[in-house]
Assembly symmetry: C2
Homo-oligomer: 615 residues x 2
């Protein structure tokens, strides 16, 4: 056991520095920091193995502040560990500072951004899985959780999965300070209630007084010594601990203290202690999976193949070509076809069951350790994890998401299974890539292309088979497009993606029979979009029809409108997209009802043609 006296002083320093930084900022969460200061002092002094000067060390422990609003405490720990100066500590929340209101990876060794409650623990589960099954290194993962966030379902997805996966390298520390933002939590200080829940979920639960340094020490020791299952330390604490004016008082959430000088005096004044944080055990290189080699699948022109199947085949091939690719699925791998990867590379496939939030969080956790995750489910159910995708972008995470069963073309299953908002949602993610291949060769090439793409990459696949129109060696790339047909005297251009490329081609055939020449552009890369080709099409043909199996908002049509605006092209555009709530039916019936089939495209071209004649 460490020196209790030193730890007591260290904990007070963490409190004082939390008060100082939030007072300097004029905002922040000192009271939520003070409750967990003793927990973090003991962790930092006795248990965490992390060389703060060497954040890229693969052997180091990971500490994730799931209660991201306790950032003053987190930054105070960085100072105590010598990772930042006191001056930087006091730059908290200022423009340009690495010390943002909630932690982000801008300040090493922070692995991920937190601040949306209930995300840190599921991400920690991902890092812990990486430790046990991918890196195969003995590092530990520690997650500091708030008690308010125990109300988030995602926390229970994490408890569930971690126990199922036997993650004894993971320790959750719950700072049960009883008080949320406006009131007492549902469980208050019912520590036994938390213990019963977490034990029922398969964890080793340890209840402690979160201000008893020796009890905390014993709890960490027990956590480390517990094998076969994760441990949770349920710590009874007081919010604002150490300063009478705020200790265990409601009404002080998320505010600097009113009398910081008095508070600092009450806490024993400023200190300048430095902790010698334990360095990680050198434990050999991280495990690497052998790459047996091979090539991406190819399909011949004219074949009928579903892009979701091409994704699965390409992913399996990619797994053979490179050993860093791993896959996750939300228990629909025979629908997304990630099962092909699972069969080929069972050691690198992770079944996340029907828990999309945990699936995406695990992907974020895997990439923390440099793995290249591909996570798949029905595109409609990605909406369940949208907050995790949003936060993954703030984490500067590199993850790849495949959403299958896009649009009304799935047919009989009905609207609950149809993704019609996914392009809008995924485009509206900072730095994201949004791809929607129309055929198997495109899908395979784009699957490979996103493996090295930074940020959030999204590949949208189709349930039905589509005609292979793209030659296997054609140049298919992020930011590209494919001109399916064109001539020098095209009168109109149709911009389609995915299933609507088939419809566009049918429409073009029909229009050709009327003597109307149209260009057809397969806009498989929606973000970034091929603005040059679209701008040229607008300029050369004079009018555009966009057509997509997606709501009219935020999808292909609006991406095209934005691109044309940026290209300073001002031609007429008719946007065809799904109108009205779909029902069950065949793909053809539903595309017709939605107004996105060949007939609708022909009608739109006729409207443009009439407008042109009248102009």
């Amino acid at each position: 056991m460490g020196d209790t006296g030193f730890r007591r002083e260290l904990a007070q320093q963490l409190r004082v520095d939390s008060v100082r930084s939030s007072s300097a900022a004029g905002s922040g969460h000192p009271t939520s920091s003070m409750s967990a200061a003793d927990l973090m002092a003991v962790l930092l002094d006795g248990y965490l193995k992390l060389d703060y000067q060497n954040p890229h060390d693969p052997h180091r422990d990971h500490l994730i502040f799931s209660k991201g609003h306790a950032s003053p405490l987190y930054y105070a720990m960085l100072k105590a560990a010598g990772a930042i100066t006191d001056e930087e500590l006091l730059s908290f929340r200022r423009f340009g500072s690495r010390l943002e209101g909630h932690p982000t990876p801008r300040i090493p060794p922070t692995d991920v951004a937190t601040g949306s409650l209930g995300q840190g623990l599921p991400i920690a589960v991902g890092v812990a899985i990486a430790g046990k099954q991918l890196d195969r290194l003995p590092y530990r993962v520690w997650a500091l959780c708030g008690d308010s966030e125990m109300a988030e379902g995602s926390i229970w997805e994490a408890f569930q999965h971690a126990a199922w996966a036997g993650l004894d390298n993971l320790t959750a520390i719950v700072d049960v300070n009883r008080l949320g933002q406006t009131r007492e939590t549902m469980l208050g200080w019912d520590l036994d209630g938390y213990a019963a829940r977490t034990r029922a979920f398969g964890w080793n639960a340890i209840v402690v007084d979160g201000h008893d340094l020796d009890a905390i020490d014993a709890a960490y020791r027990e956590a480390i010594e517990t094998t076969g299952r994760p441990s949770v330390i349920l710590a009874r604490t007081k919010k604002g601990r150490g300063v009478k004016a705020v200790e265990d008082q409601p009404g002080h959430h998320g505010k600097p203290l009113e009398d910081p000088e008095g508070a600092i005096r009450e806490l024993g004044g400023e200190r300048d202690l430095t902790v010698e944080v334990a360095t990680p055990d050198p434990a050999g290189a991280p495990h690497r999976f052998e790459a047996s080699g091979g090539e991406l699948p190819r399909w011949e022109l004219g074949e009928q193949v579903a892009t979701r199947e091409a994704y699965g085949e390409a992913l399996a091939a990619l797994g053979a070509i490179r050993g860093d690719v791993v896959a996750l699925d939300g228990e629909v791998s025979n629908s997304t076809h990630s099962e092909l990867f699972a069969r080929a590379h069972p050691d690198r496939y992770f079944e996340m069951f029907i828990a999309e939030q945990q699936m995406l969080a695990a992907a974020v956790g895997f990439q923390v350790r440099g793995w290249v995750p591909f996570a798949s489910t029905f595109a409609a159910f990605l909406s369940r994890g949208y907050d995790f995708i949003r936060m993954a972008a703030i984490s500067r995470a590199n993850i790849r998401i495949c959403g299958s069963h896009a649009g009304v073309s799935i047919g009989e299953d009905g609207p609950s299974q149809m993704a019609l908002e996914d392009i809008a949602a995924l485009r509206a993610v900072e730095g994201s890539t949004v791809l929607h291949p129309s055929d198997a060769n495109q899908a395979a090439r784009l699957t490979a292309a996103i493996a090295d793409r930074p940020g959030i990459s999204y590949l949208r696949t189709l349930r039905p088979k589509t005609l292979v129109r793209t030659a296997p060696d054609e140049d298919i790339r992020i930011g590209g497009s494919r001109t399916v047909r064109s001539s020098d005297d095209d009168e109109f251009a149709i911009v389609a993606c995915g299933i609507t490329v088939d419809e566009a081609e049918k429409a073009a055939d029909s229009l050709a029979s009327e003597g109307v020449r149209v260009r057809v552009i397969d806009c498989y890369s929606i973000k970034p979009i091929d603005a040059g080709t679209l701008g040229a099409a607008a300029r050369e043909t004079g009018a555009i029809v966009t057509v997509e199996d997606h709501w009219p908002q935020g999808g292909l049509g609006e991406a095209v409108l934005s691109a044309l605006a940026e290209e300073a092209q001002h031609q007429p555009v008719i946007k065809l997209a799904v109108r009205g709530m779909p029902v069950s039916g065949t793909a053809a019936e539903l595309m017709s009802a939605a107004g996105i089939d060949a007939a609708a495209i022909v009608a739109a071209v006729h409207r443009l043609s009439r407008a042109r004649t009248h102009a």
Copy 2:
């Protein structure tokens, strides 16, 4: 107890009809239906109180199929109850049929759409709260859950909240058939594991053999007799029960049986039983809250007020004006200002803690019973419940959502707390309304306007105070806009919303000092949008700048581009929106860095001006 022999026959009929409808459709989930047939036979015959001819009866029970893919069973129950004919049963999944692949309210008495797992139980919690605390009627709520969906965090939000709220009028029935879509669930047939978890969450857990009709009967009786807490019936069942070829076999999820005729024979052939479902007890009229009257708040021109505060004041006033308005919040009511409603109408305010999915589900549950819910949290955290919003639209639910703390203008808290994708996400919901008032009078009027709006209404509010520019009696309405300044010879138009209206006005002042006249339009209604005014502005000024505190995708700018395309206006548009990942800082610093402040607007107008000169 009912007649076990009849129930046995009824259960077989439910199985046979599940086989028949899915075979007629060529798709569907008969095996997931067959496992729960005994559970539903006993419920229908002995416990459910529902006059299927009178679905609007306020006294009736509610049955929610959280495992929506068991729709063949659900529709077979409708037939057995005399609510549909055998002919309609066999229209399952056909275009035009009310019997969609997953249940929707198109077929009464279905309350809500299900099919995205983990949503039915949280919605049932909402209906049960309505029964106890709003309607104050003794109806019961029954939710049939699958065991696969027990992996969804939202299910645990529901378990948590229902126990906290003491919902003894709620019974969850978990069909533990052990098999998911591709494999065994995490818990398999570990019924004790489920019992331990649900008991730890505060429920009365009853473990039964889900094919023992008498045991099921006893379980329902115990559930009804249990007071003070909800009951869960954990039923050990076999998927595909009754047909050897599929019973308890993997590989048969979501497929019609291969030999339906043989299966029907094995199940004893077709039957045509009708159940006399118990009619509800007449129990007086639903409770109504008294409306004390009053008026919406008004602010004088020139005041500085945050729109989030105006929302809270307006909501509290609305609660006095009408007794059907209720409010929910995700434990941030002092930030969203729904606390003003909570204080004024404590009986109609529901604290949902940090569980956004459960909050939105409860709102959907409340409106099932005709209440007018307003649910609020930080707009960023609505992304946590996006799937619930998506499904609420399929449920044809009328709910109102207020998201506060929009955009980079929140300042120091950093990007995790900034909603920058919410307009894109909420626009991409069928039939939705998206409003973003720039001042207090607008916020108040729009809060009142959405009370009677069908579908999903979204009101986006701001953290900082803004200048009241709208006179209290001005015509502010859904679909409207406000021309802040204009003249007959405006050279450019700036279209702004929310915080950027202030910036647009500053820019207009600055441009005016250069002799450049611009029109400023406050586009507070983003969906529906005031296309007429925007089209006229484009036509009359010849060029538009849009500016929004949101990502460039799917927000105001693209809504304007779509509107102009529909209005056949083809003028140049420059879209200003947040570029790059924001950090912490002051609102002014962050708006400048994002390129959405007055200086950026002026620069954009200069660019348009130069382009015009060169053209």
